[in-house]
């Protein structure tokens, strides 16, 4: 009898677990739909306004900039969803990963920053890459990394810096080093991160209270994916905050320094 009761309890537990998984899956799909629909809707309306003769030509530049920003958001969202589903399918991304290649970290940073400039410009934010620090830290060396994954990690941090940044502030990308690691520091001024939230920033689907108060919708995937990408490279990502200033550091082990540079 005890055995039957135990089995019944186990079935009930599994049923509840399945129900919870279904619920999470529905919420996830709704979130994906919401996140993808919002920028697409904005692009569609911008195109309609661009075609409308009543909207003065000098204001159409704003619309073009909006289309570019929304398309950038969309591309990064799709890449994040794709990487997320790959992670769920294969925890270590074994069959999805490329071979590491030598990448110039300064060129890579400049290219990624250029992608976000229009979005930042809309909020009066300027992003700059401290070239001198890159030359000092990396010299003629490249980083041996999986370029697409690392680009995505940097983009996720950059996108947050823009999204949660203060109007008319600046974002700096600076090369940095320690005795056994080298990397990129992204410094921005924006919403303060509470101590209790800072501990959980890299958890899957986590969004801090101040982030939700600034922008209601979001996936909470960005920093989680960034931390996973850095872990694949035997590196790490960390955050330091002081008031409204946040510093995210993406660090790689020095053994990833390669003697030759290629394109960023």
């Amino acid at each position: 009898m005890d055995e039957i009761d135990a089995l019944k309890n186990e079935v009930a537990r599994l049923k509840a677990e399945l129900e919870e998984t279904r619920k999470q899956s529905t919420q996830y799909l709704q979130n994906v739909a919401h996140q993808l629909t919002a920028p697409l809707g904005a692009i569609k309306w911008s195109i309609e306004a661009l075609k409308d003769e009543r909207v003065p030509i000098h204001r159409k530049k704003t619309l073009l900039s909006s289309v570019y920003s929304q398309a950038t958001i969309l591309v990064h969202l799709i890449k994040n969803f794709s990487l997320m589903s790959s992670l769920e399918a294969d925890h270590e991304l074994g069959q999805f990963r490329e071979q590491p290649e030598p990448v110039d970290p300064m060129l890579l940073s400049i290219n990624l920053v250029n992608d976000f400039q229009p979005q930042a410009y809309d909020q009066g934010i300027r992003i700059d890459v401290d070239n001198e620090s890159f030359l000092k830290v990396f010299g003629t060396n490249a980083l041996l990394i999986e370029k697409n994954l690392v680009s995505q990690a940097i983009c996720n941090v950059l996108e947050n810096a823009v999204k949660y940044g203060d109007r008319d502030s600046r974002i700096h990308l600076i090369a940095c080093s320690t005795a056994d690691a080298i990397g990129i520091l992204i410094e921005s001024t924006g919403i303060p991160i509470a101590d209790v939230d800072r501990e959980r920033l890299f958890e899957r689907s986590f969004r801090g209270e101040s982030a939700r108060q600034k922008v209601a919708a979001g996936t909470g995937f960005g920093l989680y994916l960034a931390s996973r990408v850095l872990a694949f490279h035997q590196g790490h990502i960390e955050v330091q905050t002081k008031g409204r200033v946040s510093r995210f550091t993406l660090m790689f082990p020095r053994k990833r320094l390669s003697g030759r540079k290629s394109h960023g």
């Binding site: 309306w45 409308d52 704003t62 939700r212």
Partner: protein
């Protein structure tokens, strides 16, 4: 000039609509949270309100969950400014909640799904009390 207040935490999502309404002669203001929007409504003459659903509640209402701010905001606006024309603009589509908005006399439009010109005309008619067809 007739003024329309937009409340949306992602202002780029409504920039096309605002530019079209401005081209039609309206003055559009855009705020990003419920608290500042309520404060604005108390201090300025506004002909119509266009509000997002999922947005921050701001400093005055920390207890409100951001996924439902718009519903609380609209209910409060309805009580305090019963004659103000209100349009909700969102991408979320919980039909029961949309029905409850409709029961309060609030129009609900989906961002990007309702044609831009139609959305602008609906907001225009809310702001002026005049319904026009065409153009």
């Amino acid at each position: 000039m007739v003024s329309i207040l937009f409340v949306d935490d992602e202002p780029t999502s409504t920039v096309a609509l605002r530019l079209l309404l401005e081209a039609k002669g309206f003055q559009c203001e855009c705020l990003t949270d419920m608290s500042s929007a309520l404060e604005f409504l108390r201090q300025h003459e506004v002909a119509a309100l266009v509000s997002d659903i999922m947005m921050p509640s701001g400093n005055s209402f920390p207890e409100i969950d951001s996924s439902e701010t718009g519903f609380h905001f609209v209910a409060m606006v309805r009580r305090e400014f019963p004659h103000l024309g209100v349009v909700c603009l969102s991408v979320i589509g919980d039909q029961s909640k949309i029905n409850s908005l409709k029961r309060q006399g609030v129009l609900y439009l989906r961002k990007g799904e309702t044609p831009l010109n139609t959305a602008a005309r609906i907001i225009e008619s809310k702001a002026t009390g005049i319904t026009r067809y065409g153009g």
